[in-house]
């Protein structure tokens, strides 16, 4: 027996928004298990679940901050520390997924094409970030002879320079118009 056609308009391939929330929870749990001891990892998992079910609580960003700050307990990584690079990928990805799924109703159908451009932006940002992180850890990470505060200042300076450069490009473009 053939199903009656849906009365709603067809879009491209899509996923329900609650699937994205579920992915966010799984990612949070995975990262917590990777970088944290068992008890804080369980707390993070619960926080991620709360953030997915009740997004207005912003619990997801508490989990993100906990994952990042929990790095303090692990010790300074070296340039070859895979788990740190995974964390460096996971934290911005968590923020991207959580920020977007907070704007979507849970039963909304999210066109996969709508995730394409943000995915490419994230990927581009990750390329820069991972290179920057590798360089910073090589210079200032575990086993290096350089004082680590210099690394902090260098990274902050690079990021600040990036913001200034972007504003300058924007201003020049606006002036030309």
């Amino acid at each position: 027996m053939s199903r009656a056609p849906s009365p709603f308009p067809a879009t491209g391939p899509a996923v329900p928004a609650f699937v994205v929330r579920a992915v966010t929870v799984l990612l949070s749990v995975g990262l917590a298990v990777l970088v944290m001891p068992p008890q804080p990892a369980v707390a993070c998992a619960i926080g991620a679940l709360i953030g997915a079910v009740w997004p207005w609580t912003a619990a997801e960003w508490v989990v993100i901050a906990a994952l990042a700050v929990g790095q303090l307990a692990r010790g300074l990584p070296g340039p070859g520390d895979v788990s740190f690079h995974v964390l460096l990928l996971g934290v911005p990805l968590l923020h991207a997924l959580a920020a977007r799924s907070r704007l979507w109703p849970p039963l909304a159908r999210v066109e996969l094409r709508a995730l394409g451009r943000p995915g490419l932006r994230l990927l581009g940002g990750q390329v820069v970030l991972q290179i920057l992180a590798t360089a910073a850890l090589w210079l200032f990470g575990a086993g290096s002879a350089t004082y680590p505060v210099a690394g902090v200042v260098a990274v902050a300076g690079l990021v600040g320079a990036g913001f200034v450069a972007r504003r300058s490009v924007r201003g020049a473009t606006a002036g030309r118009r």
């Binding site: 991207a96 907070r102 909304a108 910073a136 990021v159 913001f163």
Partner: protein
């Protein structure tokens, strides 16, 4: 089309603010602890939250909803979307006439979304209602909710073919038509052979009859025929209420969704009866009893039928419960079809008034067969009382001589045709 000029400016999203706070916390902790790895984790959060600027104005898409082609039994709609260039995605909410809704998050860029929904009801229908919200890059900002933009259509009722003879009024007015009148005139069947009197037309002289019957040299006999005449039919619809078969939902608007209602049946009955009589060469008038502005005076022909069908299709329940309905002026000798649920005495009083004034009246019953599910004990008793009173009222009108046509869903058009034949037999002998 949505109007962007009235929208509020876009706002920074809560996720962006939360990301900024989280990024700052991580950055400060990293700097305080002298840990470059922690700083590196905080930087992308700040960049993602602060890199994209929130536009000071705009943030609204151009959205229009239009009619689209659809298979039979469905109504099509087309949603045209033109988001602003700064949009990362567009959140679109589509609500159908049945109340079902779906949220879609679609990619940016001008595009069209096409859908078609089944039609449960006839008459004015809000096919699709569309609202939208623009989502900015990196979910940093979101535009205000805009809408709704509605597509309204008037769904014409299906016409039931009423085969066979139709009931006629007791007096046929007019000088032209397709029905044989008992009055003498031109165009009809042979009435009698009568001696020639001044005023008779010479071409009516029947020479054979004259040769056979004459007694003297000046005697002449003429053929007299009956006149042809048309009937005047008035279709009067009581639109004060609109109820479905599910009694438990009579007090809620949700009860009308995805169920055939009394007004759907009334539109079908009015449209079908008008078509049958117009095709028979008669004149048809239409009155909406609760909306005195919705009147179509008597007329005939295809264009007039379209006017009547449009008037019937445009009927909506007024929801005004008034015990008194002003009886419209009805042409002398007209046949009146009084369409409604007849849940109170108002329509039966009207029917009686018209009947006693000499009109032939037929009550058309469009109350659906009642479904008593989900009724508690008190409601069940109240429903039983209501049905009993209504049946008694209709029986009283039947005893008076007013015909009753049951238009409720029986599944077979032949049932209605059979009912009409019964009314024809009961009403033989028009003048």
């Amino acid at each position: 089309m949505s109007d962007p000029g009235t929208a509020h400016p876009p706002l920074r999203s809560a996720g962006s603010l939360a990301g900024t706070v989280a990024g700052l916390v991580v950055l400060v902790v990293g700097v305080a602890a002298g840990r470059v790895d922690v700083v590196l984790l905080g930087v992308p959060l700040l960049v993602a939250s602060l890199w994209t600027r929130v536009p000071s104005a705009g943030g609204v898409a151009q959205v229009a909803v239009e009619h689209a082609e659809a298979p039979t039994g469905r109504v099509g709609y087309r949603i045209r979307l033109e988001p602003p260039p700064s949009a990362e995605a567009l959140h679109v909410r589509v609500v159908l006439s049945t109340g079902r809704r779906r949220d879609l998050v679609v990619a940016p860029g001008a595009r069209e979304l096409v859908g078609s929904a089944p039609t449960w009801h006839t008459g004015p229908v809000a096919v699709a209602t569309v609202g939208h919200r623009v989502l900015g890059e990196d979910a940093v900002w979101a535009g205000p909710p805009v809408g709704p933009v509605r597509l309204r259509r008037v769904v014409l009722p299906q016409r039931v073919e009423l085969d066979g003879p139709l009931p006629l009024p007791p007096r046929l007015t007019g000088l032209t038509g397709l029905h044989a009148s008992v009055r003498l005139g031109d165009g009809g069947e042979l009435h009698d052979i009568n001696p020639f009197v001044p005023g008779d037309r010479l071409r009516r002289i029947d020479w054979r009859a004259t040769a056979r019957l004459r007694r003297g040299p000046g005697d002449l006999y003429v053929r007299r025929t009956t006149a042809q005449s048309d009937a005047t039919v008035v279709i009067a619809v009581d639109t004060r209420d609109e109820v479905s078969d599910h009694v438990a939902t009579w007090t809620t608007p949700a009860g009308l969704v995805e169920r055939t209602t009394s007004l759907d049946l009334a539109r079908e009955a009015a449209s079908s009866l008008a078509a049958a009589y117009v095709h028979a060469g008669d004149q048809v008038a239409f009155h909406d009893l609760a909306d005195q502005g919705r009147v179509v005076p008597p007329g005939a022909g295809r264009r007039h039928l379209d006017r009547v069908r449009r008037a019937a299709a445009g009927m909506v329940a007024t929801g005004l419960w008034t015990p008194r309905l002003r009886a419209p002026v009805v042409a002398r000798g007209a046949l009146v079809y009084l369409v409604g649920t007849h849940l109170d005495d108002t329509t039966s009083e009207l029917a009686t008034t018209w009947f006693l004034a000499g009109h032939r009246v037929v009550l058309v019953d469009v109350l659906p067969h009642l479904d008593r599910h989900d009724l508690d004990a008190r409601e069940a008793v109240a429903t039983q009382l209501l049905e009993g009173e209504r049946a008694e009222r209709i029986d009283g009108l039947r005893d008076l001589g007013i015909g009753v046509l049951d238009w409720r869903r029986s599944g077979f058009d032949a049932d209605r045709t059979g009912s009409l034949r019964g009314l024809v037999r009961a009403g033989r002998g028009h003048r």
